[in-house]
Assembly symmetry: C2
Homo-oligomer: 116 residues x 2
């Protein structure tokens, strides 16, 4: 089944999870196509200065793969700067936040899998 | 947990599943970090002219998200050309192949989830 770029579901969130600015999610998989394995597989875009607030994952884990831009992340209490090609894995029970500290859009792939 | 670009596991496959040329997989998640939900979450790179042969998914489904380049895919018997931003979903029991028909590397995200 092919989904063209312009057919994908795009959702815009403001100040997501206590963050700043705008998060745009382009969803690749609907829940029914994910075999109850997870709840998110998407391209995430944060505009410069935008962020997702610090939050804990309970019952699932999330992986980020940075495509473009410059991210300040908080990985379970420790800050780090991530760039294209870097990965952040937040396991069930762990916490994270992410902020675009660059001058261009921050783009990354996000995957959330349930810990059953 | 942060994995820097140069720490990720990179695997090179020749003529993968009956295809041509070279496939390079950069793995984001190890099996133990994926909660038994799937068996692949990776950046896939096919050099110009390289391909993955036509094969059927049994017990799992795979999603491709095209990042860069030009792909000829066979989606359960029907051919189509995909470009950046397009998605191919191959569900359990369906088949696919992918070939780089462009002049530059074809890069895409691949996710395989089990159908339990």
């Amino acid at each position: 089944m092919i989904k063209r770029k312009n057919e994908l579901k795009v959702v815009t969130q403001k100040e997501f999870l206590g963050g700043k600015g705008t998060l745009q999610l382009t969803h690749f998989l609907e829940r029914e196509d994910a075999y109850d394995s997870g709840r998110l597989f998407a391209l995430s875009v944060l505009t410069p200065g935008s962020s997702i607030g610090y939050h804990t994952h309970t019952g699932d884990g999330e992986t980020y793969f940075i495509l473009k831009g410059r991210a300040l992340v908080n990985d379970d209490g420790e800050e780090a700067v991530l760039e294209a090609g870097d990965v952040l894995i937040t396991k069930n029970g762990s916490s994270h936040s992410i902020e675009n500290i660059g001058d261009t859009d921050l783009e990354y792939i996000a995957l959330i899998l349930f810990d059953k």
